[in-house]
């Protein structure tokens, strides 16, 4: 089974994955990345100020695939 690498981009910058994880195919790797984004989004909302999060899935033959969560805090009536 192929090994997929998940680079995480968050408020602290890029965290390249040097270990990787083995999945049956890219679809299974995407399911794992979505789960990871759900965990990390929850944590980021509790701990950090809102920042975008993304995971880039790499492997030798397919991809890359980017998964992105965008977070914004808007104040539409703020006069500045």
């Amino acid at each position: 089974m192929p090994r997929y690498y998940f680079d995480v981009h968050d408020a602290q910058g890029v965290h390249p994955d040097e270990v990787g994880l083995v999945f049956s195919d890219m679809d299974a790797a995407i399911v794992e990345a979505r789960r990871a984004l759900a965990d990390m989004t929850r944590e980021s909302l509790l701990v950090d100020s809102a920042t975008d999060l993304s995971i880039v899935i790499r492997d030798g033959n397919e991809g890359p695939v980017n998964l992105i969560v965008t977070m914004t805090t808007e104040r539409p009536n703020d006069q500045g």
């Binding site: 968050d10 965290h15 994955d17 994880l21 794992e32 990871a36 965990d39 509790l46």
Partner: protein, 244 residues
């Protein structure tokens, strides 16, 4: 017939919490049955089984787990050498979870008939066996409470816990290192986190200089800072030696 050295890790666990007489140590040894080896990845006992022995792991690491219908696994506990992993089956009869070998394991089987006889003749030893299952539940409570914290803290907390539990049985190296046969996926299954999130959190802890984890060995670099990072309080491990 087992001798006392074989049960050394277990006896040290008991003696961290109370005093054992020579007669009590001999009684525990006489209760032991045969020794069995389990390769890594095999099950010591499966959910639904009705064992007639309870297993004490002399060497090796095990997990208590359940498999969900979707194929995912939840690890509810990690056991270290010297833990009596299914003392529960003496009274619960039917296993409500499985116990799997995380590494190769050497196990001592205690026939239920002998354990039952022990409870009838040795009230103090009975209380100590009861204490072991109470400490198991205390650890479950701590894991539930820890699950509310961010992933790096959860990982730091587990490393601190394993350090204390292994230290009692003399399994911590002089340079604060210990053997931990766990994959990142298994660590995620234990903490309820995705493996990718575990990997990212481990990188963060590494960049903070708290510990390294290579070739199944944890090496703690800054023990005080690691305990602060985890907000670790060892009270739930009940490491006080007093009459029980």
């Amino acid at each position: 017939m087992a001798d006392e050295r074989v049960l050394a890790t277990f006896l040290r666990k008991l003696e961290a919490r109370d005093v054992l007489s020579d007669e009590e140590r001999a009684t525990l040894v006489a209760c032991a049955g045969d020794e069995v080896l389990f390769p890594a990845g095999t099950d010591l006992v499966r959910e639904g089984a009705r064992p007639d022995t309870s297993m004490l792991v002399i060497d090796g690491f095990t997990s208590r787990y359940r498999d969900a219908p979707d194929g995912s696994r939840q690890i509810m506990a990690i056991h270290v050498p010297g833990d009596f992993v299914d003392l529960h089956s003496l009274l619960l009869k039917e296993m409500d979870h499985s116990v799997g070998a995380l590494s190769a394991c050497r196990v001592m089987r205690f026939p239920h008939g002998r354990l039952r006889a022990l409870t009838e003749t040795h009230p103090h030893l009975t209380r100590l066996l009861w204490l072991m299952t109470l400490i198991d539940s205390s650890i479950h409570r701590e894991w539930l409470a820890a699950a509310a914290h961010p992933a790096p803290e959860q990982i730091a907390h587990l490393i601190c816990e394993l350090y204390f539990r292994l230290e009692i049985t003399g399994l911590i190296g002089a340079d604060r290192s210990f053997y931990l046969p766990l994959t990142q996926t298994e660590l995620g299954e234990a903490l309820g986190l995705s493996a990718v999130h575990v990997n990212r959190s481990l990188q963060q802890l590494r960049s903070e200089g708290l510990f390294t984890w290579q070739s199944q060995t944890i090496h703690i670099l800054d023990w005080d800072a690691l305990q602060r990072r985890a907000a670790f309080d060892d009270r739930y491990l009940h490491l006080v030696r007093e009459p029980r």
